[in-house]
């Protein structure tokens, strides 16, 4: 890079072992590094030529708005991937946060100022429980969080006996709940800053920036990755591995709850089936993120680009009248393609 070699390194033998990369190899590497970004740009150009309305600011904002929740959840998953774990409970955390927020406002008649912190604390609490299962009971990350996903998916149905929540809900006891959604709360999902920038998009972008800086440019982030790379080495280097692992899950749970709040605010009711596809979409975004810049490790920037990539593709295809039921297939194809690009080609060329 920009480092001047020291005198000792000027001897020819100081060159590290291994074949000298050929020109073609370097080209291939560049292509892989920028591949997904180039593809994203190509898609934007292609969709715009097919329909100039694609590039209108309103449409772009709607694309971003459609991926905001997934990107927020996926950024949290990325942190758990960085510590070598995997939070599969985020879908259920988001869905039960939708229910919890609705229940708080409709049944308990809370306002936004009380509801939002309560739901975020709920998400953080789930993160704590996940971390407890993983760290103290030593349940493998995937199993613990998948079990938690199941548990929460069921738990959210119990208070309302399986009904969706809106004003006038008949409770299991027979009385009806007459609270309403606080307009300030609804603004969380529906307001636009300056009439242009939707609040969810603003949330997504700020979370992306904060978590990117946190993971790439702070001591905390370096230690998170150290744990994911080699937990023994991180512990022997003095890192408080348990506290760090715990904080990754707490952040992930909190962000999933925030995603749930945004969904509740946008929909304006507590729908029992909301958030069904959030888990897989968020995991896909985080995994596509491995391929962005050919990093091959979980990274927040890649995750957010991955989420936007999927959003652009789906929006463009919808504009071109692709039927809605092809969406999951398209997402899956992108994921398989992106992972093959990073892992498969890399092995052959290196």
């Amino acid at each position: 890079m920009n480092d001047k070699p020291t005198a000792e390194l000027d001897t020819p033998s100081a060159v590290p072992r291994g074949p000298i990369p050929a020109r073609g190899w370097l080209v291939a590497r560049r292509v892989r590094q920028s591949g997904l970004l180039l593809l994203l740009a190509a898609m934007v150009v292609g969709f715009t030529r097919a329909d100039p309305a694609f590039l209108h600011i309103a449409n772009l904002m709607s694309v971003l708005q459609s991926v905001a929740v997934v990107a927020i959840l996926a950024a949290g998953v990325t942190l758990t991937l960085a510590v070598g774990g995997f939070d599969l409970s985020i879908g259920a955390v988001a869905a039960s946060s939708v229910m919890a927020a609705s229940y708080a406002m409709v049944v308990w008649q809370f306002d936004a100022v009380a509801t939002v912190p309560m739901v975020l604390a709920f998400g953080a609490g789930v993160g704590l429980v996940n971390a407890g299962l993983i760290i103290w009971l030593r349940i493998p990350d995937l199993l613990a969080t998948l079990a938690m996903n199941f548990l929460l998916t069921g738990l959210q149905l119990i208070p309302t006996a399986g009904r969706s929540i809106s004003t006038g809900l008949i409770l299991p006891g027979g009385e009806s709940a007459n609270g309403v959604f606080d307009p300030n709360f609804l603004a969380l999902g529906r307001a636009r800053l300056g009439g242009v920038l939707p609040v969810p998009v603003l949330l997504m972008l700020s979370i992306a920036v904060v978590l990117h800086v946190l993971t790439q440019h702070t001591r905390f982030g370096r230690l998170l990755y150290a744990i994911g790379g080699n937990e023994v080495a991180a512990r022997l280097a003095g890192a408080p591995t348990r506290a760090l692992r715990l904080s990754a899950y707490v952040i992930s749970g909190t962000l999933a709850a925030l995603g749930g709040l945004v969904v509740a605010a946008r929909v304006g009711r507590g729908d029992v089936s909301s958030g069904a596809s959030l888990l897989l979409d968020a995991v896909a975004a985080a995994l596509i993120g491995f391929a962005v810049l050919d990093r091959r490790y979980p990274n927040v920037f890649g995750t957010v680009v991955g989420a936007i990539f999927v959003g652009v593709l789906l929006n463009g295809l919808t504009m071109l009248n692709a039927p809605y039921y092809t969406q999951d297939f398209v997402k899956g194809a992108v994921l398989v393609g992106a992972l093959s690009l990073t892992y498969g080609l890399r092995r052959r060329t290196s």
Partner: protein, 495 residues
């Protein structure tokens, strides 16, 4: 019984001008050797002398760059370990716990490679497995507990399983790599009996070991490798002193590090018990001295270092650091107090994967010091890069620069990075567990010099290689079964 003088033994394997180069360093620089039937040939050499390369070539894991091999008179150029095994080379590697897995019976473990082989029947019955396994054990002449779980049998039995399995296809040459490394004295004696039995049946055995006692007792001939060449070829009775001199390249007395005046007591252990029921041990470390612990694997060296470095609990006794009670509950606490530990096997205990964040030279060095170097928590600034540039110059690390990935460095240079990590900030006590694994002679000399140049830190090094201990230390202790014995007289090494 065997008699070396009766007749010229058959040549099983002959090597002519074998060469192998990794990168710029020749691992084998022209080896000529013949291995005879019914003989035990000891292969000796310091770390990095080319022993493992030779074994890897014989067992088919690597191909030589030049040279010829003849096995039973026919050209031998195996393309894979499986091909070498079919041709009659039976190799038993050092870690024999991989010969089977817990949950498999000994019988299953004996037949593992047959299960894997193509053309083996899809369905196997318990009875047929047991019968076939009994045949394998009988062929090797071993009495093995066929029905027991592989995970429950001792290391000596695991070794026997590995040997019996290796011998199950008509083997001509048995290669054993440090077979006694994890065995107790009694178990080792049993293994020697087995090997003598195999020898009397005409098997050629290539025996690789650091243990001069084993070699004196067993070997009919000893070949010493140094820098990829044969430095000595000694008949029985083996002159161990000559072998060691050949190994190191100069007489032993010139090798031992000079003893020096040392500073104040830094770390003091009194009646330290490493594991419940173990013997208490005392140890005093002074500023500026290098103390080595040697002794077989499993003697408690790693355990002692881990206990001092806060990575393992102690069962009893007291530790004092600079006069104050020292009770680290985690490596983090020990590091904060100035007691730092570099664990054995750098890939397991020190490094993250090379293409993972944190896998560069600079990031590896800085990991324990992030709090001190970046008190605000943000990793901006040159502190990390400067530390790496300094270390690269000071320890003569061959790397493309501070941001080079670890995988682009050779083993010796990787180990220098580990040392650079723990010397980047002043430490009171530096604990190094097997710091010379996979380190070539040149890099080892640099590391030794760097350790001895530090006159403020007390350094404690665990190594199972007595030669390394001699080269490095002001004082040496032999550790056996959690017990420390001072090793005062270097002549005992040669005796």
């Amino acid at each position: 019984m065997y008699d070396t003088s009766m007749k010229a033994p058959d040549q099983i394997l002959t090597l002519h001008g074998l060469r192998k180069t990794f990168g710029a360093t020749p691992a084998l620089a022209g080896v000529d050797l013949s291995i005879e039937a019914g003989r035990i040939l000891a292969l000796m050499g310091a770390n990095g002398a080319g022993k493992s390369t030779l074994v890897n070539i014989l067992s088919g894991a690597h191909a030589p760059d030049a040279g010829r091999m003849l096995l039973r008179g026919r050209t031998f150029a195996p393309a894979s370990p499986a091909e070498a095994a079919r041709a009659g080379i039976a190799t038993v590697h050092q870690s024999t716990q991989h010969a089977g897995t817990p949950g498999l019976t000994v019988a299953d473990a004996l037949l593992l490679d047959r299960f894997v082989a193509s053309g083996s029947p899809l369905f196997v019955s318990r009875r047929s497995v047991r019968r076939a396994a009994a045949a394998v054990a009988a062929q090797a002449g071993f009495d093995l507990p066929l029905d027991r779980d592989f995970g429950e049998i001792g290391p000596a039995d695991q070794q026997m399983v590995a040997i019996a399995r290796a011998l199950s296809r008509d083997a001509a040459l048995l290669i054993l790599d440090e077979p006694t490394a994890s065995l107790s004295a009694g178990e080792a004696a049993r293994l020697f009996g087995v090997l003598e039995g195999l020898r009397s049946r005409g098997l050629a055995i290539l025996y690789i070991s650091h243990r001069t006692g084993d070699i004196e007792r067993l070997a009919d001939r000893a070949v010493v490798l140094r820098s990829g060449r044969i430095a000595a070829d000694l008949p029985r009775p083996i002159d161990v002193s000559a072998a060691l001199t050949a190994m190191i390249g100069r007489p032993i007395d010139s090798l031992a590090a000079e003893r020096r005046e040392c500073g104040a007591v830094v770390l003091e252990a009194r009646d330290l018990v490493l594991a419940a029921g173990g013997p208490p041990l005392d140890l005093t470390l002074r500023a500026g001295e290098v103390v080595a612990l040697t002794g077989p694997l499993g003697a408690g060296k790693s355990r002692l270092l881990a206990a001092l470095g806060g990575a393992a609990p102690i069962a009893g006794g007291t530790l004092r650091l600079c006069g104050k009670t020292f009770q680290p509950r985690s490596p983090g606490e020990a590091i904060a107090a100035g007691v730092v530990l570099a664990g054995p096997d750098r890939h397991r205990s020190s490094f993250v994967p090379s293409d993972w964040p944190g896998g560069s030279v600079a990031e590896t060095i800085s990991l324990p010091h992030l709090r001190r170097w970046f008190p605000a928590g943000f990793l901006f600034g040159d502190r990390e890069r400067h530390a790496a540039v300094n270390a690269i110059a000071r320890l003569r690390i061959r790397a493309a620069g501070p941001h080079a990935r670890l995988a682009t460095l050779s083993g010796g240079n990787q180990q220098k990075v580990v040392l650079a990590r723990w010397q980047a900030e002043p430490a009171r006590v530096l604990l190094l567990d097997e710091p010379f694994q996979g380190v070539d002679v040149g890099a080892r000399a640099d590391i030794v010099a760097a350790l001895r140049a530090d006159r403020d830190t007390a350094t404690l090094v665990a190594t199972s290689d007595p030669e390394e201990a001699l080269q490095l230390a002001d004082r040496i202790f032999v550790m056996e079964r959690h017990r420390l014995t001072p090793w005062m007289d270097p002549d005992r090494f040669a005796a």
